[in-house]
Amino acid sequence: MSQAVFDAPLPPIHPLWMRISHWLNAAAVLLLVASGWRIYDASPFLGFSIPAGLTLGGWLGGALQWHFAAMWLLVANGLFYLGMNIGTGRLARKFFPLTAAGVLRDALAALRGRLSHADPRHYNSVQRLAYLFVMLDLALIVLSGLVLWKSVQFALLRELLGGYEFARRIHFAGMAMLVAFIVVHLAMVALVPRSLLAMLGARGQEKSA
């Protein structure tokens, strides 16, 4: 991956590894959520079903196959993302410091439409909180998923998450929070399209096309 170039254009806003892992994650999450909804429909415990048209897999067996295939992608990609993020120091650099006062200040500024998005390289406090939240939420979903998949083998984890049935509710609640994040995330991308360009590999101070 030699980056040497003579005319030295500005570097991409986000490193390549981060963009790859973001889109792999998006694909894995889409497959997991859509197939997970079909699995939920096999035995809905909240008094409603997800419309079949929004689910993936066709029937329970097909949905489980998708779910068990995409989980490898999510876990492998998630470990890669975390490893690179921590290893390169990006996590510490981009997401911290994070203070309650900073979140409050940026949230109020955002509501007044005064939050600057001029530099996609910089995450404001609300973004930091949101992205850290979704990392932790995904970790919780994976851990509770492990309990559902291997409830006997992961006994300690099962007990920590309140037993099999409670882990099932955690898994569902984690999904709901993830979907809520995605809705807000996509709304923000629609409001600030250059963040999408940045994630597609757009370079530094270039005027967006």
């Binding site: 040497a4 097909g62 068990f68």
Partner: protein, 263 residues
């Protein structure tokens, strides 16, 4: 594309020139066509993902999913620790009524007569005698109150009693190094399990439910009860079992349910 970016002046080789030429051409072609392609594939892809239509019907996709499912079987076999026990519960935690579940409705439950019943044992075993219920009941029994977990996600706690399957396999001189144990059932169901799970201390040839002979709806005269496996791996009304090294599959497994199907 920075994967392919090379310092051209320092390294004039055919590949680099070709790559750069291609990039130049791509740049000229792309803006509108690439956007068009992206837009088309995003919406089409998104739609097919959401509806599951195009992806599900595709034979290649199904074959790939099936291969990943076999890979999952392998990983689960590696994760399986035969000393790890499923949690047990107290009497008052038993789910009442314990749910009925099968690939048919409860009004179609098979009723097997005790009088003519003989359990067939075949394959890689030394002793292929048939077993009556009385002979099975004469063996040392064990009880468990464990959680039954259905592939659909619900679970229920029940109380089963019977012969530890490992005891039975040793008694008939089964090849304990064989890979699989398969089951045939009076309700035309069939399934198979790995030998490690067959020998798990909580795997029972269950003859009783909640202190009484197994009622027909729970699999009279005998079912295999494994708290380490999902419900569909626990066959009811077993009439024959066999030990084998060739993959036997199963009723649901052949349709796509994961074969290992347990924890």
């Amino acid at each position: 594309m920075s994967f392919f970016k090379r310092p051209i002046a320092t390294q004039v080789d055919a590949d680099a020139v070709l790559i750069d030429a291609r990039k130049l051409i791509e740049k000229r072609l792309s803006p509108s066509s690439r956007r068009h392609f992206l837009r088309g594939s995003l919406t089409l892809g998104g739609l097919s993902l959401l509806t599951g239509c195009a992806l599900d019907g595709d034979a290649d996709v199904e074959a790939a999913l099936q291969r990943i499912s076999r890979f999952n079987d392998g990983v689960q076999g590696l994760l399986f620790d035969p000393r790890q026990l499923a949690p047990t519960y107290s009497q008052d935690m038993i789910t009442r009524p314990f749910p009925f579940n099968a690939y048919y409705g409860e009004d179609q439950v098979r009723v097997v007569e005790e009088a003519g019943y003989r359990l067939e044992v075949s394959g890689l075993v030394a002793d292929k005698r048939r077993w009556t219920l009385a002979q099975l009941r004469a063996m040392a029994q064990q009880e468990q109150i464990t959680r039954h977990i259905c592939v659909e996600g619900w679970s229920a706690i029940g109380r089963w009693g019977g012969v530890p399957f490992g005891d039975f396999l040793r008694r008939v001189g089964a090849d304990l190094g064989a890979k699989y144990v398969g089951f045939q059932c009076a309700d035309d169901y069939h399934t198979s399990i790995d030998m490690a799970t067959a020998l798990h201390p909580q795997t029972l040839l269950a003859l009783s439910y909640d202190g009484a002979p197994l009622p027909p709806k729970y699999g009279f005269p005998m079912k295999l009860r494994m708290p380490t496996k999902l419900g569909y791996k626990n066959p009811k009304h077993i009439t024959a079992l066999y030990v084998t090294n060739s993959f036997p599959g199963g009723y649901w497994e052949d349709q796509g349910y994961n074969w290992f199907g347990g924890s």
